[in-house]
């Protein structure tokens, strides 16, 4: 029997009246009293915080750490930042594949130093990923550790994330200066990167400009016993700016609108091909071969996988559950695939057929659009329509290249409103 696990913030979630549910064997908040819609919109208009301590961290250190990752992980670490190699303080997204080219899990690999890496994977996946790495580390100079349930992690996401987080950091200007998307700094315990980042109460943290919402923001890693205090401190710092604690339902609808996959749902035990996330693979410029040899790579090149994973968006908030009995048909009712994810992005709506976001116009009364991913037996192009069905209801949706417009994840730090001025004021207050 599987044990139900709790994060260190579980008591807080329950105390706040969160609607709780099991996710990856963790008892997690789906939404708090403010409700999913308010939480989703907070991340678009202000900021939200998420308890993500259920995610697992695996570390690799030693002379051969990079070599083991290069063999097991899908990104070519010699050329994954443009044409350049992964360097200290930078992170990359990719997947761990089985030898048959199916997905074990997706992950973000952070280079703390040339011989030290932090691999962030999904809930309950620490042991499986650590095992995969160890199987390929025989006789090599590398120490691999699974830190599942021993690291505190929370995310702050939304346009005001830096402004709010800056209020709890000792040197916010230094922590944020030129911190690009998929860069990180700071550290704690054995996870030491460049430049310490420390909160006003002296908690060291690893500050990573990554996330799972498509919006500007950070993932914060701390010693597990420091997480509850950090959570409360950030929440208090953002209260007047509309910061909300957000549950997994808002996390799911935000990521779906941002066309980000949920591991073991949108990617899983089938070849990692014909999907929107091929940037996770080391394709060469010709797109027919890989720039390196890695586990699962040869199987992908040899695979005859004809199915296509495609994002879609509906024309209103109606959706069809992705459960058993649901399917995708063409306009004539012929079955052509299955539904992987179907949720509602509450920040968007259609105006004369075009998708618009409240991020572009705060006065826009978005009613929400259903969106997600389908796995089709045949190709479709953006703009094509298919029909989702649960056997009773039929819903026409549009295949999309992208879903929620005007996302903020990749905006430069300097473009986030009011940041620089506020930073200098804050620094003066904290260090008079």
């Amino acid at each position: 029997m599987e044990t139900t696990k709790e994060t260190v913030l579980h008591g807080w979630h329950v105390e706040q009246g969160a609607n709780m549910a099991l996710f990856g064997s963790y008892h997690m908040p789906l939404w708090y009293r403010s409700g999913t819609k308010a939480e989703h919109l907070a991340v678009i208009n202000a900021a939200g915080i998420f308890d993500t301590s259920h995610m697992a961290v695996v570390s690799l250190s030693g002379r051969d750490a990079r070599g083991v990752l290069q063999r097991c992980f899908s990104k070519d670490l010699r050329q994954c930042l443009g044409r350049g190699p992964l360097v200290d303080g930078r992170a990359v997204y990719g997947v761990f594949l089985g030898d048959d080219g199916t997905v074990i899990d997706d992950a973000i690999v952070c280079q703390l130093a040339e011989e030290s890496y932090m691999v962030v994977v999904n809930a309950s996946m620490g042991p499986a990923v650590a095992l995969r790495l160890r199987e390929n580390a025989g006789g090599l100079a590398v120490v691999i550790n699974d830190h599942s349930d021993r690291i505190g992690k929370m995310d702050i996401q939304g346009p005001l994330a830096a402004r709010i987080l800056g209020r709890v950091l000792r040197e916010p200007g230094e922590a944020f200066a030129n911190l690009s998307y998929f860069a990180f700094r700071g550290g704690f315990g054995d996870f030491v990167a460049q430049r310490p980042v420390v909160t006003v109460d002296g908690t060291p943290l690893l500050l990573s400009r990554t996330g799972y919402t498509g919006e500007f923001g950070f993932e914060l890693f701390v010693a597990i016993e420091r997480l509850p205090a950090l959570w409360e401190m950030v929440l208090a710092a953002g209260r007047d700016d509309g910061l909300l604690a957000c549950g997994l339902a808002a996390r799911d609808s935000l990521r779906a609108g941002a066309v980000l996959p949920l591991s073991h749902q949108d990617i899983g035990p089938w070849p990692f091909l014909n999907n929107p996330w091929q940037f996770a693979l080391p394709w060469d410029s010709g797109g027919k071969a890989f720039t390196k040899d890695f586990l699962g790579g040869p199987a992908l090149l040899a695979a005859s996988w004809e199915k296509h994973t495609l994002p879609f968006a509906g024309f209103d908030a109606r959706k069809i559950g992705a459960g058993e009995g649901s399917l995708v048909t063409d306009e004539r009712g012929r079955a052509i695939g299955t539904i992987l994810t179907c949720t509602t992005d509450m920040a968007i709506g259609r105006v004369e057929g075009q998708i618009r976001s409240v991020a572009e116009d705060p006065g826009f009364a978005a009613k929400g659009l259903c969106c997600g991913f389908v796995l089709l037996d045949e190709p479709r192009q953006p703009g094509d329509t298919v029909v989702l069905s649960d056997g009773k209801r039929r819903l026409t949706v549009e295949i999309r290249a992208d879903v929620r417009p005007s996302r903020t994840a990749r905006r430069p730090m300097s473009a986030m409103p009011g940041l620089e001025a506020e930073m200098s004021t804050l620094r003066a207050e904290v260090n008079p």
Binding site: W31, G35, A38, A249, D252, G321
Partner: protein, 131 residues
Amino acid sequence: MKEFDELLFNEEFRYTEEHEWVSVGGAELMVGISDYAQDQLGDIVFVEMPEVGATFARGEQFGTLESVKAVSELYLPVGGEVVAVNEALGDSPELINQDPYGAWIVKIRPSDTAELEQLLNAESYRSMLRG
């Protein structure tokens, strides 16, 4: 999630085991979902309602409610003809979350008011939820 003692009940209404309520008295009866149901579903984002004039048997599906996470079917507590649908829910489905016993979904003209007797009163519904 609301604690049991925070849940609201309308003492005048009758309830189904699927958490719909129906008003009692008069030629037209209002139908909606309970406070417990809206709290479990979370934010309602879309209400699919039947055509006025449609008739349904008791227990038959007459519409769907969509929350951000799920699609739920609505079953009619007593059979009858739909005489009105709550148009306000088209623009503001969240009214169901805000005021579950005010935000009726359909009004029906019951074909047999005796069917009301087979439903739960507020006290039995409360007991059912308490478990």
